[in-house]
């Protein structure tokens, strides 16, 4: 990309002196701000990781939390985090994507749909605590199942639906119309076009959306505190959907705001670095199919 611009700047150097200067200033500015922000992010990550990462041990990741003595672990909370995230994604990804596809491909272009679209966008600004209260009204009061993993996961899925729906819609809309026409011209049906052309091309955007929501869901605490509680069942590998489901982010909140254990600060630091690592992991897991996809489409 930089080759043609240099050539352009040279051959029209005299005539476009001002533009060339602007170009240089602009490039410098972008690099400067880019470098600044990268430095800032690295600093931030360093700040978050430096106290926690060196002290991480397997016992901490695997162990049971303790209220009195030092050395409590985060085992059940970590497990619950994954379990809850998994369930909530299983619910929200198909629903969100299908709704997004509907809005992008099938929905008539009228006022009502426009209104719905704006409402969906607006709902991503509703504070998560409201979703938590909705979860309480639904699961604790209506279905009477108490504070459970199931309630937490479904409430979390609701929280993520608006963003997933809109990201899917936006990514599918940004697929060039030529590709779609070409697919139709080859005799594909609408479903085939969506499955074989639109989704693969829009996948990068959709995966970004999923990563963003998964990361947010993993770090969400307000909803879980209200709907899944601040306790775990106290044992590892508890797949029961009706167990209380404290997640790592909730544990972090608890340790930071109320816990009396002497090493609360250290647990918080370690839990933070574990969280960052897990989010990295989630990103990798979702991006691997993307790499395969791009290899496939390039080759």
């Amino acid at each position: 990309m930089s080759q043609p611009s240099k050539a352009a700047a040279n051959s029209f150097g005299k005539r476009n002196g001002r533009a060339a200067a602007l170009d240089r200033i602009f490039t410098g500015l972008v690099w400067g701000i880019g470098a600044l922000v990268i430095l800032f992010i690295c600093g931030l990550l360093f700040l978050l990781l430096k106290n926690g990462l060196p002290k991480l041990t397997w016992d901490f990741l695997y162990g049971l939390p303790s209220e009195i003595e030092e050395g409590g672990g985060i085992g059940p909370a970590l497990f619950n985090s994954f379990y809850l995230l998994f369930i909530s994604l299983v619910i929200s990804i198909p629903l969100g994507m299908a709704a997004g596809i509907y809005l992008a491909e099938f929905a008539p272009d009228n006022r009502l749909i426009g209104l719905i679209r704006i409402c969906v966008e607006g709902l991503s600004s509703v504070p998560s605590i409201i979703f938590g209260l909705f979860g309480i009204a639904l699961f604790v009061e209506m279905f009477q199942i108490g504070l459970t993993i199931l309630g937490g996961a479904v409430s979390l899925a609701f929280l993520n639906l608006p963003v997933l729906t809109r990201v899917t819609e936006e990514s599918i809309r940004s697929v060039p119309v030529e590709l779609k026409n070409a697919s139709f011209a080859l005799g594909s049906t609408h479903l085939q076009t969506i499955r074989r052309v639109l989704i693969p091309v829009a996948l990068s955007g959709i995966v970004t959306g999923i990563c963003l929501t998964a990361g947010r869901a993993f770090g969400e605490s307000a909803v879980i505190i209200l709907t899944a509680g601040v306790t775990t069942s106290g044992e590892m590998w508890d797949f029961n959907l009706f167990s209380p489901g404290e997640t790592l982010a909730v544990h972090l909140w608890y340790v930071q705001s109320e816990a009396i254990v002497p090493d609360a600060q250290e647990i918080a630091q370690k839990a933070t670095s574990v969280l960052i690592f897990v989010v990295l992991l989630i990103n990798l897991v979702f991006r691997v199919p993307l790499w395969f996809n791009s290899r496939k489409t390039k080759g």
Binding site: W58, D59, Y62, G63, L64, E67, I68, G75, I136, V140, E141, G146, L147, T148, I225, L226, G229, V230, T231, S233, G234, S243, P244, Y254, Q256, S257, E258, A259, I260, V261
Partner: protein, 285 residues
């Protein structure tokens, strides 16, 4: 890994021993049920510890606890969505800001002590009740007026509805109004936030439960009495309160057993003391 296996086998051993040795425990271990606890976050560490010990004895009882704020406790009980509502005051009586909850029984579980705390840079060591009232109502705004340096006082308050706030207002300020506005005034949502804010803000004053007091902050003497366990026990330090588990009517079944476990002298003199709460039996009412 090894430690984990060890601790699990130790737990299993302890459970089987308990079940085998005492008939009372074996009777309790057949106890079934589900206990939902909600309410005060200050009592949460106690609840969690008691829950994990209780579950070891009674594996068939499921306990799920959450915390949002003291008042949530009795309200959830009234609505029927929680079996136990943890609250930092006796919710079957009226307190400043909150009406009593009819038909609920207050089961005392622990004594908590509250301390006025200030940033390390504050030179004042002791405040009288009058001075505290003036500071927290915004009448006195400079440390020099209470014997300190010439510096603005930064008042840090807990949010409305906090059990610590209700108790501190009742016991330390003798029911006087708290301020709610000002350039050097802020409210925080939890004990942890209070701790961090006091530790990092010069010239700040606030109040906190005794277990959270660290050596990075200064615990004020009130009327020249230091907030220590000893002074509470001998009756000279008055700023303490009792934490309650509210139930709808007298507790029954698993809920009853759980409350009895917390009130038992084994728990009161063991884990509860280690968590820096004070056993119920130790204080004179």
């Amino acid at each position: 890994m090894k430690k984990w296996i060890k601790s699990v086998s130790a737990i299993a051993l302890a459970v089987s021993l308990m079940a085998g040795v005492t008939s009372a425990a074996s009777a309790a271990s057949t106890l079934k049920g589900k206990i939902v606890i909600n309410g005060s976050s200050a009592l949460l560490p106690l609840t969690l510890q008691a829950a994990s010990e209780f579950k070891k004895q009674n594996p068939k009882v499921k306990i799920s606890a959450s915390a949002a704020g003291s008042i949530t406790g009795p309200q959830s009980v009234r609505k029927g969505i929680a079996d136990i509502g943890a609250v930092d005051w006796d919710a079957s009586k009226d307190v400043p800001g909150f009406k009593k909850f009819d038909g609920q029984v207050a089961n005392p579980v622990a004594v908590t002590v509250f301390a006025a705390v200030a940033n390390k840079n504050v030179k004042v060591d002791s405040l009288t009740t009058k001075q505290l009232q003036d500071i927290f109502s915004g009448k006195v705004t400079n440390w020099k007026d209470v014997g300190g340096d010439d510096a603005e006082i930064v008042v840090v308050n807990r949010k409305f509805g906090s059990g610590t706030r209700v108790n501190f207002q009742m016991k330390a300020l003798e029911g006087k109004e708290l301020m709610s506005k000002g350039d050097n005034y802020k409210e925080v949502g939890s004990s942890g936030d209070m701790k961090t804010t006091i530790e990092t803000t010069p010239n700040s004053i606030g109040y906190i439960d005794l277990p959270y007091v660290t050596d990075k902050m200064k615990a004020m003497k009130i009327n020249n009495v230091a907030p220590t366990e000893k002074n509470v026990l001998n009756g000279s330090y008055k700023v303490w309160g009792i934490g309650y588990f509210m139930t709808k009517g007298e507790p029954t079944g698993a809920t009853k057993a759980f409350i009895e476990y917390i009130q038992s002298s084994k728990f009161q003199n063991g884990s509860l003391k280690k968590l820096k709460f004070i056993p119920l039996s130790a204080v004179k009412k």
